[in-house]
Subunit: 307 residues, 2 copies
Amino acid sequence: MDSVRVHSPATVSNVVCGFDCLGFALSEPFDEVVVRRIEEPAVRIIHLDDYGLPTEPEKNVAGVALFAMLDALKTSQGFEVEITKNIKPGSGIGSSSASSCGVVVAANHLLGGRFHRRELAEFAMEGEKLASGARHADNIAPCIYGGFTLVRSTDPLEIVSLDHPPLFAAIIHPQIEIKTSAARAILPADVPLAAAIKQWSNLGSMVAALQKGDTGLMCRSMEDVIVEPVRKSLIPKFDDLKSAAMEAGSIGCGISGSGPSVFAISNDLSNAQEVGEAMRRVYAVTGIDFNVYVSAIASQGVAVMAA
Amino acid sequence: MDSVRVHSPATVSNVVCGFDCLGFALSEPFDEVVVRRIEEPAVRIIHLDDYGLPTEPEKNVAGVALFAMLDALKTSQGFEVEITKNIKPGSGIGSSSASSCGVVVAANHLLGGRFHRRELAEFAMEGEKLASGARHADNIAPCIYGGFTLVRSTDPLEIVSLDHPPLFAAIIHPQIEIKTSAARAILPADVPLAAAIKQWSNLGSMVAALQKGDTGLMCRSMEDVIVEPVRKSLIPKFDDLKSAAMEAGSIGCGISGSGPSVFAISNDLSNAQEVGEAMRRVYAVTGIDFNVYVSAIASQGVAVMAA
């Protein structure tokens, strides 16, 4: 096999009480990534989208992820990578992660599955480092593993796949820019111990609720007393979005990644559609451009398609 | 039925990464509590042990727990309570909790099960308030529900029962006094956000590990970067106890409640016995009196015995 095509999904990280550790994968939107073996010992990146992302492989997240993999292989094998991004860069639903995870899963498939998922995640983290300056795995983990994931530790990397019931999500992406540096700078260096205890009690019960399929407990656990109170100021009408989502029957709602996207979880597809409509109505009067996505939470991460 | 006897177990709270929320019940030691209906509208407390605990019901944790229940019932029914404590007060393995949970479960049994477990826990929390000044449920939850419990919230009270594999514990109780006020005063008011994130990532994966029965993940998750580093100074040779337990094959080791007891979890009974011996050897040379307990982690909490 000389070529493979994968679908690499959007992901939500920082799931409310699970800041910096809890994430999930969506069925859509997804990027399409085709990887082909080539004769020369080189990496070529082609973007079939018009986001103007760099195509020098050293400056492209998929390129550096692939370099990390080739370094580990100590091979001079070359690859051509063709990326069609459907996940808009900077949207807060794991756009960079979709590129870097897609390419390493595809290349690994061509190489006969030489690497474990954890190793692939390590390679993809180099892409995150290029994109944001931090070697984090919050989006990488659900993008590669699918479903709900918990990153227990990044060094050494440990990713825990969580059982969960069938769930759906509505996402609204306001077309504004939030700089990762601004979203980081707004975080407090220290937090009250009492708030931290509340946060970890909620995260512990969120994990239990996912595994039990107890959506009532999930709803009560999806409370963030540390990050959301400060970051929501970066997202116009966040409180209105959240109220609208909850009134429309969502299980829980929060900031996706460091924003600007906002996600809301639902029990079934029709409720997710209603929640998406409710969020759309909040933004329709703002004059801010936005997209709404409604999707299943996908049990699979990057998917290898028939060639 | 006019009288009932229950066994009310010792419990471990503040399970390493689960400060103020994660606890478990032991099979032994346990207190024995007998509750009898009496003619007068009064509560009488009799202690068949020699710990010198107050027997005026307003000053006795079982008494105030029972008053809370009778208040909710709005009944003038009277009870006589006979308590044989085997769990030494001040040991850090839920002695007060065993008394207050035992009495409310027993009285509820006599009353035909009028109250849910959550309501019984609320009544028993009045005993904790008398004992420590705080209406906490860290030991109450596992004492009534059994197994591993997570207290998501105390107001309103929400207790989550966690699935877990068969597990065993060794406990060493150094016969020293740690005042709850001292153990509280030593805690920082604020903690670094990075440490809090590490703690909640560990707690999330601990809950997942319990439910998966993954003892390797449990072991890696049982790390406390916030409370243990400051409280261990209150327990002579804590680091040696923990090293000895881990070298003997324990899955994880920490301070029980606010000490002075130290617990270590094992896969099976024979390993728990080895771990108990290893901890005993550490203390044998200190000149400090101590007890060692080895027990299953009990899936049941307070147990109603044949009358």
